[in-house]
């Protein structure tokens, strides 16, 4: 990352090789359109290139920083296009989660995979609230409007979903000091 901050294009392309699939997965999940997702992925990496000096390792992992940029970029594009957020995701994890390049990556991949399945295991109404909030960028009031539910119901289901994930996933994170992204 220091090399990228110094303007090393080769280092930048190495980072792209390593993280492009992660970024693209997120932008595609948010936008639900391959062309828009491709543009959002490109914009994310161009922002990475231009903002590399702003990254401070002490504040969090590089991947979290990069994916946060990707999320905001894709949500901005979602609002710009006036598109409605996706209500659900039809990914096939078995097909895409079968390659674990190294031990560290394998460890992270395993954790993220467990979180993915924990989300998918949530009751449908809780999972929808979580996904609309995080991948759709909607507030609780907006989610209530989209789903036609009372606001109190949305609040209750969102909190219940997060409490479930906290109970099921965070203990695994605590067992692994390198758990933060």
């Amino acid at each position: 990352m220091r090399r990228v901050a110094r303007g090393d294009q080769e280092a930048f392309l190495e980072l792209y090789e390593r993280y492009a699939a992660r970024v693209h997965a997120l932008t595609l999940r948010i936008l639900g359109d391959s062309m828009l997702a491709e543009e959002a992925t490109q914009d994310t990496f161009l922002k990475l290139w231009s903002r590399a000096r702003q990254y401070v390792a002490a504040r969090g992992s590089f991947l979290t920083w990069l994916l946060t940029i990707a999320r905001h970029t894709a949500l901005d594009r979602l609002r710009l296009e006036g598109r409605r957020p996706l209500l659900s995701c039809e990914d096939d994890p078995e097909e895409t989660w079968n390659s674990l390049p190294d031990e560290q990556t394998a460890s992270d991949e395993a954790r993220w995979r467990s979180l993915y399945f924990a989300v998918r295991a949530l009751p449908e109404e809780q999972r929808q609230v979580i996904e609309l909030a995080y991948y759709g960028g909607l507030s609780q009031s907006q989610i209530a409007e989209v789903l036609g539910w009372p606001l109190g119901t949305v609040k209750t289901r969102l909190r219940a979903a997060m409490q479930t994930l906290r109970a099921q996933w965070l203990p695994q994170k605590d067992e692994n000091p390198k758990g933060a992204l």
Binding site: W112, V119, K173, L181
Partner: protein
């Protein structure tokens, strides 16, 4: 802080961590978080889940061409850009700045050349006027030194003008030396007329005093020896002169 006191805020922590808390509730929660360690700890957990959700998606490879385009963008820009500057770079990138620069340079070059041409012509005009003036004055000086030259007083028809005329009776050249001749108006010129014995008028040339308040030397060229003429008059004529006097007379000279 008591659990009861935290209850309304704890209900909002998960939504806040995901950025889904409605704006009207954010301010109160953030104020509470500043003084409640328990809620901050719970929020940290939810935020960790939020960060996990960023990566908790199966990988999706972008199209292969994207890397090539990014590499091309970096090679093309060679600069760090983001947000507005990226948008601006896309706008600017569509303009052929090399051609614009060439066109601007060409226009400036043409303008500079035109300016130089105008200045050169003005200088050439001033030079011609000065040369004519020097030549007239040299003729006048030469005539003063030449034997047999007659000096005849000028009779002005307008106030303030005075002068002498140097006449070589055997020759065809005379010199008018005038003082305080006003400049003609725009589009007008002074014309000298030689008057023959029958009263006919023959043009002796056009002139325009260059500066008021100084003397003007005018060389009058006659088609015949001056002894055949009885006098000279100067009138105001349109620019370019007239075949015969049309304007008011300014002065006269009797040989």
């Amino acid at each position: 802080m008591s659990r009861e006191e935290c209850t309304p805020y704890r209900e909002n922590l998960a939504a806040y961590a995901l950025g889904a808390l409605d704006m009207e509730d954010v301010q109160a929660l953030e104020t509470h978080l500043q003084r409640c360690a328990g809620c901050r700890a719970e929020l940290a957990d939810y935020r960790a889940i939020g960060e996990g959700l960023l990566a908790a998606l199966p990988r999706r490879d972008p199209p292969a061409g994207l890397k090539r385009r990014l590499a091309a963008r970096l090679r093309g820009s060679g600069a760090r850009r983001s947000g507005f500057s990226m948008w601006w770079s896309r706008v600017v990138g569509r303009v052929a700045w090399g051609q614009v620069a060439t066109a601007v340079a060409f226009v400036l070059l043409v303008a500079a050349n035109l300016l130089s041409l105008v200045q050169m012509r003005e200088l050439q005009h001033q030079q011609a006027v000065l040369v004519e003036r020097v030549e007239s004055e040299q003729v006048a000086i030469a005539m003063l030194a030449y034997p047999g030259i007659q000096s005849v007083p000028v009779r002005p028809d307008i106030e303030g003008v005075a002068g002498q005329m140097l006449v070589d009776p055997d020759g065809r050249i005379a010199t008018l030396i005038l003082w305080n001749m006003p400049r003609p108006r725009q589009g007008e010129v002074y014309q000298a007329w030689l008057i023959d014995e029958q009263g006919g008028r023959v043009s002796g040339g056009l002139f325009t005093p260059q500066e008021e308040g100084t003397f003007t030397v005018v060389v009058v060229a006659a088609p015949d020896p001056l002894e055949k003429f009885t006098g000279l008059g100067v009138t105001v004529e349109p620019q370019g002169g007239s075949p015969a006097p049309t304007g008011p007379r300014l002065l006269s000279v009797d040989f």
